[in-house]
């Protein structure tokens, strides 16, 4: 009995000292927007980092969707309660970047705190979105994806189609075949219409989405989508909508079930949706194909651009915390951690080393379709039109563009008129952003 008490006491002391040493570590708060399995994976990554050393403790916390996470981080900053690291979606980049007193650019952080940091190790097509016009990395890309085409091969076979065409022109014929043979009641649908059908369409055809290198060149950038081939593309979708080759199904991911249920033959969606498609496409064969291009506009398509989110560091923290963040970011960029995250989540790897490691591990051979997005991203050097979009108030601009697309697809306005409205309203927002930040 006595021995039992002593050992219990010893255990208690041991536990207390363990928790004491855990408390001595510098705590670093990380707010993120990854729910479900991805959120669990984030906890796992943080735990492994915390176990790998004893000076710092990363504390991830889930803050709702992207928009909610950004809003709460901004509100927290205003109340001097900001987290050290926050995950911000790609459209919030210009807003974070313009807030110079609030954010700590990653390249500065890494240089100031002695971490060995080689910007060339990162994939330019991925990091380009988050670098300044001088090529300095402002935030660390964390989860990046790019749009691809998912095709229901059973429906295509029934319609007598063997291959998913690479151009929009051929795709039009193929979808006519699908609809007319009654293989499916709808040809194609798309998630995130502004991102896939306008931002990525422009990048892939090397035409500007906005002036000033899509906003990378300065705050006086203005939208140009009402005067480029993007108008013809929206007209094409509108025409396709008339004969059921295209179905509009919402601004976010709502279109995916139309593909899962076999209503639509093709789905354009993020490469990170692969896991979801695989889980839901049990009854049919599917393939992953590159995003089509229009042969009337360009001979060889450019890279597509990314979506997703990156990690921003907030100012007003102690040097110790920044050292911890620098160490954590190095850990996060290491090939093993990156390759694991990439293979688990379906997001793009952010370093060459992680891509090569995944190749060595035969990941792409064992999981067909996973490399389509990477090849599409890395096939060409990004141009000023395909590097990304860097516009202030982009969150609102995307809403405006989606709204005007809805007005077009619901026959409220003509295509050109809708695109003009989108540009006019967005430019108003851009002017306002320019004023608030200069």
């Amino acid at each position: 009995m006595m021995r039992f008490t002593t050992s219990t006491l010893a255990l208690g002391v041991a536990c207390a000292s363990v928790s004491l040493s855990a408390h001595a570590a510098t705590e670093i708060e990380w707010w993120h927007a990854m729910g479900g399995e991805l959120g669990d994976k984030i906890d796992e990554i943080a735990e492994e980092f915390n176990d790998s050393q004893s000076d710092y403790e990363i504390k991830p916390s889930f803050r709702g969707d992207y928009s909610e996470t950004m809003t709460s981080a901004i509100a927290a900053f205003r109340a001097d309660e900001a987290p050290a690291i926050v995950q911000i979606f790609e459209v919030g980049t210009a807003t974070m970047m313009a807030a110079e007193g609030a954010t700590y650019p990653v390249h500065e952080l890494m240089n100031d705190h002695g971490a060995d940091f080689d910007p060339d190790a990162y994939l330019p097509a991925v990091t380009g979105y988050y670098t300044s016009s001088d090529g300095d990395m402002l935030s660390l890309p964390f989860n990046s994806s790019t749009p691809v085409v998912y095709a229901n091969r059973d429906i295509l076979a029934e319609a007598g189609v063997d291959d998913v065409p690479e151009t929009w022109e051929e795709l039009g014929d193929v979808l006519t075949q699908v609809v007319e043979s009654d293989a499916a009641s709808c040809g194609m649908t798309t998630t995130w219409p502004s991102w896939i059908q306008l931002e990525n369409f422009s990048a892939r055809h090397d035409i500007p989405f906005a002036s000033e290198e899509n906003g990378f060149g300065g705050l006086d950038a203005r939208l140009q989508i009402n005067e480029t081939a993007a108008v013809d593309h929206i007209q094409r979708l509108k025409d396709w909508q008339e004969d059921d080759r295209f179905r509009y199904d919402g601004r976010f991911d709502e279109a995916a079930p139309a593909f899962y249920t076999g209503r639509c033959a093709l789905l354009m969606a993020s490469s990170a949706s692969l896991a979801g498609v695989r889980a839901n496409a049990e009854d049919f064969e599917f393939s992953v194909n590159p995003l089509p291009y229009s042969s009337e506009v360009i001979d060889e398509p450019q890279n597509s651009i990314i979506g997703g989110a990156s990690l921003w560091v907030m100012r007003g923290k102690s040097d110790e915390e920044y050292e911890g963040i620098a160490e954590f970011f190095s850990y996060l960029s290491s090939p093993e951690v990156q390759a694991d995250w990439h293979q688990f989540s379906g997001y793009l790897p952010i370093t060459n080393a992680a891509y090569e490691l995944s190749q060595e591990q035969n990941f792409y051979e064992e999981n067909p379709g996973t490399d389509v997005s990477i090849e599409q991203m890395t096939a060409t050097e990004p141009t000023e039109n395909s590097k990304g979009i860097r516009l202030g108030n982009m969150v609102q601009i995307r809403d405006v563009v989606e709204e005007e697309l809805e007005n077009i697809f619901s026959d409220e306005v003509e295509v050109q008129e809708g695109m003009d409205n989108a540009v006019e309203r967005s430019n108003d927002l851009l002017e306002r952003f320019q004023r608030a930040n200069s």
Binding site: F77, G250, E254, V395, S410
Partner: protein, 291 residues
């Protein structure tokens, strides 16, 4: 009387907790919104510029704002009228039921216990263009349902969901009002030869007027502010702004667009608008109420 006058401080002390709550949760934020409405500010609050009435001028010249005003008017009237008349009808029917009255009433009150966002999600699932049971049923009847691209259908959906949500609240009050009407009055009217229809309009309805007036005010506040959750979960203000009410626009511009100045100015306008509406209701409609 004299005893009361000596206690000048007592009423204030008794009111203090309530006043403190109102001051902290209403007057203070409202004052901040009024100040904010005169500034253009970046989201992080690092720099701001005093712009006089520019935010207001922009709002009133914006096509989207005027459209939201129109949407709000249509939405409010439909929901308030729909929720109140249906609730009255159900209350009158429930008042007459003798067997199993309790279960009927419980079932009718139930939706009020559902949070607006949950109600929205419920309706969204029923009418989801790809997965919904009701939309599939409609499609079988030859009616293509896609509220993501059809503004009229989207409006119908948010109106139905909002009516369903508020009906229970109205039902409880109407039922209580009906039960407090002395049976002798109705019996007297019946003896005088008035049919059920006549009895309702000449006896029941006038005696319900205090309840109806109270509900009119509460329903106006409901449609302007509390339907936000339902709209957010079903249509998100779309397609193309077809279901974007004023309060939804305040949220969108403030919390998604970080345009705090414009969002604050819109809140101020909304505050004035609802204040005026309530004032009008008290000034003109309350006169017709018989207590």
């Amino acid at each position: 009387m004299a005893t009361f006058q000596r206690h000048r401080l007592t009423p204030w002390i008794l009111l203090a907790p309530q006043l403190a709550v109102i001051a902290v949760f209403f007057f203070w934020p409202a004052a901040q919104a009024i100040v904010q409405a005169f500034y253009i500010e970046d989201p992080f609050g690092l720099g701001h510029e005093f712009v006089w009435f520019e935010n207001f001028a922009r709002i009133f010249t914006s096509f989207e704002y005027l459209r939201a005003l129109g949407v709000t008017a249509l939405f409010s009237v439909s929901v308030a009228v729909g929720a109140m008349s249906l609730a009255l009808l159900l209350a009158v029917q429930a008042d007459r039921v003798i067997h199993g009255a309790h279960s009927y009433k419980t079932l009718l009150i139930w939706p009020y216990a559902v949070a607006p966002a949950v109600a929205g999600v419920l309706w969204m699932f029923m009418f989801d263009p790809n997965l919904g049971l009701l939309s599939a049923g409609l499609e079988n009847l030859g009616i293509g349902w896609n509220h993501r691209v059809n503004g009229g259908q989207a409006m119908l959906l948010v109106i139905l969901a909002s009516i369903w949500k508020q009906m229970s609240y109205n039902f409880v009050f109407f039922l209580a009002g009906l039960q407090s009407i002395p049976k002798s009055l109705l019996e007297a009217a019946a003896i005088d030869g008035a049919g059920p229809w006549r009895r309702f309009w000449t006896v029941t309805f006038p005696l319900l007027s205090p309840t109806s007036f109270f509900l009119l005010v509460m329903n106006s506040v409901y449609v302007f502010f509390e339907t936000f959750g339902t709209i957010d979960a079903t249509t998100g203000g779309g397609p193309g702004g077809a279901t974007r009410t004023l309060v939804y626009k305040v949220y969108e511009d403030g919390f998604e667009g970080y345009d705090l100045g414009s969002s604050a100015a819109q809140s101020v306008i909304l505050l004035i608008l609802v204040g005026l509406l309530t004032l009008l209701q008290f000034r003109y409609i309350e006169r017709k109420v018989q207590y």
